[in-house]
């Protein structure tokens, strides 16, 4: 369970930013990383991300598991990319600089390696910022932040409800599956796959039914306290924007402009050092 990332309360410039700022920053930043494949931009974003992370006073220990997991995912992806399409880089960059031939259709090609390097960078550019968003944003501010950037407050509140009730659902799930294990329903057993899937329904069904009951109670409670009465609503946890918030958003927007600018300069999403 310790592998699940959640909010860590600290005092730092990053924690001091409003939830909305962090949310906007995270969205703009990941969008900027998404559109570009320019190595220089991605490297800059990664380094800046690491610097922001340092500012947040979060430690390597807080994120070690998550980072290692992401690295593992990236490695799996890299291997798959290489096995399935060993010449993807050649196609993208238009030249082929073979360094050494391995076997059959596989060779170490400079363009391919460079493509894979950039692919990795695309993740590295986002990971520190994503981690910050998760670990340094108070979940209480989530709904208010969504509302502030224009999402309907009702939908924003769905997110709040999800965050509020995840621990309850998790507890229900644990208790139900323990009681069902005592009746011989075990998902980890070496049964046939279809049998295990059928067994899982025996655990999920009570979970779904009790969740449906819960939906009934919560919606009654919300209605009785006037949820949805007006077109707008206020938030007790909302914080006003300060100078730091504007600076942060401006930084993200600048990054976006740089990212777009490079596409225009390069005449495409890729920066090609091979020509």
């Amino acid at each position: 369970m310790s592998a699940t990332l959640s909010y860590i309360k600290k005092k730092s410039p990053v924690h001091g930013l409003t939830g909305s700022t962090k949310f906007i920053f995270f969205l703009v930043w990941s969008l900027a990383a998404m559109i570009t494949y320019d190595t220089r931009v991605l490297v800059a974003m990664f380094l800046m991300g690491v610097a922001f992370f340092k500012m947040s006073k979060l430690t390597w220990k807080d994120v070690r598991f998550a980072v290692l997991f992401m690295v593992w995912l990236i490695v799996v992806n890299l291997v798959a990319l290489f096995l399935f399409a060993p010449e993807q880089g050649v196609e993208i960059y238009g030249t082929r600089t073979e360094i050494v031939h391995l076997f059959w259709r596989y060779s170490i090609i400079a363009e391919e390696m460079f493509y894979l390097f950039n692919f990795t960078l695309k993740y590295l550019a986002v990971i520190p910022v994503a981690l910050l968003f998760i670990l340094a944003t108070d979940p209480s501010e989530f709904a208010a932040s969504l509302n502030k950037i224009g999402v309907s407050y009702k939908v924003g509140y769905s997110v709040a409800i999800a965050l509020r009730y995840i621990p309850d659902v998790q507890r229900d799930f644990r208790e139900i599956s323990q009681a069902q294990q005592a009746r011989g329903i075990d998902l980890s057993k070496k049964d046939k796959l279809t049998a295990r899937l059928k067994n899982s329904a025996a655990i999920l069904f009570p979970l779904v039914l009790s969740s449906l009951d819960r939906i009934e109670v919560i919606s009654n409670a919300m209605e009785l306290r006037g949820f949805g009465k007006k077109k707008k609503r206020t938030w007790i946890v909302e914080r006003p924007f300060k100078k730091a918030d504007y600076t942060a958003i401006l930084t993200a927007v600048c990054m976006m402009i740089v990212s777009l600018g490079c596409i225009w300069l390069n005449g495409g999403r890729f920066w090609n050092p091979f020509i």
């Binding site: 096995l83 998760i134 997110v159 779904v208």
Partner: protein
């Protein structure tokens, strides 16, 4: 759109997303290698049938985003695919009168045709297309990856989703004339 969302839908989105998260994050039934069966699509399909496409879409979107964030980074292409799955299955809600306990052969077929098509569109078309656009991944890799995701998810949903809906439908039927037996 705002006016049409009832409070119950809002809560259903939140609780649906919480279920999606818990089931997707903590139940791992290994299929092979490091691929696991995604039971959360079974749950999501049930929510789509009970509450309709909007709840399905947002519960899938929020739930999947939360799962990805809890690992460290969102994989937008797949998150969007989850949301689209919720919508597509929700589209057949009108054909399945689950609230009155109707879930017979005809409804089972409708549901499964819908979920298989939805999975095909989501994984083979949408997720792959977005991966190509965003990450410039090679199509040959994506074909393999998305076919596996499609096959695994539609089998999982076929079994888990159908069983859950069958059981749920039984709880909605009015008990007719029942006789005690000796």
């Amino acid at each position: 759109m705002d006016k049409k969302i009832t409070i119950k839908s809002i809560v259903a989105i939140g609780i649906g997303a919480a279920l999606f998260f818990v089931v997707g994050r903590f139940i791992a039934i290994p299929i092979f290698a490091n691929t696991t069966a995604n039971l959360q699509y079974g749950i999501l399909s049930v929510f789509s049938i009970i509450f309709g496409p909007l709840v399905g879409a947002l519960a899938g979107f929020i739930g999947h985003t939360l799962i990805d964030l809890s690992w460290g980074g969102p994989w937008w292409s797949w998150i969007i695919a989850s949301a689209v799955f919720g919508v597509l299955v929700g589209l057949v809600k009108k054909k399945i009168d689950i609230e009155n306990g109707k879930f017979g052969k005809k409804e089972i077929i409708t549901f499964n045709v819908a979920q298989v098509i939805a999975h095909a569109i989501c994984w083979i078309v949408i997720a792959s297309a977005l991966d190509v656009i965003i990450y410039k991944e090679a199509i040959s890799k994506l074909v393999g990856q998305s076919l596996i995701a499609f096959a695994a998810n539609s089998v999982t949903t076929a079994i888990v989703g159908t069983l859950l809906l069958l059981a749920y439908a039984k709880t909605r039927t009015k008990a007719g004339s029942l006789q005690k037996e000796d």
